[in-house]
Symmetry: C2
Subunit: 220 residues, 2 copies
DNA sequence: CTGTCTCGCTTACACCGTAAGTGAAACGTG
DNA sequence: CACGTTTCACTTACGGTGTAAGCGAGACAG
């Protein structure tokens, strides 16, 4: 397994860290565990990495890197925003156990800049004024981060049995809160993809008010 | 300080924990540190509390508890939603260092139910059908959580000097990303309150499409 | 051959959450 | 009153954590 020849490197360390996180969760990642995965002693990592925080930074950086951005001038701004948003979500979902890092650690890190720049470019190119573009950007980021966070903390995150859904539903029904009880069947089940799309499309629709020259197409 | 007479209790422990977190941050809270704050040995806490996780649960519960909810039938649904949203934000801001707990830990914990129920009641009472109410609820939660998370991770969270803003602005300008550089002056400064209100009002406006009998008032 | 540099190694420290058991005070019941 | 029982802070100990410090073998330049 761990070839003694191949030398350690920040890249290899981050890769191994991501692998550990994917399989065992963020909490399972310790420097010793990580070193073991590389067939090495814990302190050896420090020759290539600044500490655990640096490893985690590397992981978030890695995940952030592989979300492809739309070439921003094709299509309307709606498609551009859609593309960025779904790309962000898809990249995060590719490493479910790791994504809380991406959402939680520096949202304004240098590595997020390409994405931010892309969104801003799309908006500016289609008639949003500067203030509106910044507001819209921040709103979209908030929505995306909040959605994904909800998604990952959702009890229904991984494939769960029907029984779990029933149990949750029963708990909601007996909660003593009228509205919650009434909507228990709907609250017990979540289609995260659909929920994300619903929110995103609603936001896009609302943002149309800030893109002056687009004189509205349809809106069902 | 630590009166030897007053007995330990879950309540007192949670209170002390919140105090430690407020002053030194979540990471500074250890069972030993917490015990010391109460003039007691670490293991003594375990007579009243199930472990560290339980302490943290207690803290989030405490914060969640003191956001007052509107009596849901007065005023339009817009005011109801506004009230809940701002109440949530205000309660979170009351303990800035602790709020990542509230946002991160179980969003679907029993303690969140009163708030959820309140929002749902407001929506249902004003003509939202069940599906729309659930969608709207989830959208609002996502937005709120994302907004606050952005707010707390923002480098500009605590009162910062003008110099810091200037430096950030310079960094953005020299980032090599056109749109980011152009908007650097705006991106370097954030008015979180205004940003939150902007997003909330935009959402409310968009949700009007789902409240049939309200035939629109104004919208500037 | 001899520096110097690289880099994995070992050892050690301070800290963490908590399992386990001990003993003194407080209490209900005879 | 005396008696078990319960409460609850205590001490000790275990297996983990991140990482500071320094060692030593090999590679490479002069």
């Amino acid at each position: 397994m761990s070839d003694t020849r191949t030398p350690l490197s920040r890249e290899r360390i981050v890769g191994a860290a991501l692998r550990v996180i994917d399989e065992e969760g963020v909490d399972a990642l310790s420097m010793r565990r990580l070193a073991a995965a590389l067939g090495v002693q814990a302190m050896s990592l420090y020759n290539h990495v600044d500490g655990k925080a640096d490893v985690l930074d590397g992981v978030t950086e890695f995940i952030t890197k592989d979300m492809q951005l739309p070439r921003h001038t094709e299509g309307g701004w709606e498609d551009g925003i859609r593309s960025v948003a779904h790309g962000f979500r898809r990249a995060s979902l590719r490493h479910p156990r790791a994504c809380e890092l991406v959402l939680t650690r520096q949202l304004s890190s240098p590595h997020a800049l390409p994405t931010i720049n892309c969104s801003l470019t799309v908006l500016l190119d289609h008639g949003f004024d500067e203030a509106a573009a910044v507001h819209a950007l921040r709103l979209l980021i908030s929505f995306q981060v909040g959605s994904l966070l909800r998604e990952f903390h959702s009890p229904a995150f991984k494939g769960e049995e029907e029984s779990a859904v029933q149990e949750r539903r029963a708990r909601l029904e007996g909660s003593g809160f009228g509205a919650v009880a009434k909507l228990a069947p709907r609250l017990a089940v979540i289609d995260h993809e659909a929920e994300f799309t619903f929110g995103l499309e609603l936001l896009i629709g609302a943002l149309r008010a800030y893109a002056p020259q687009t004189q509205q197409t349809h809106r069902d």
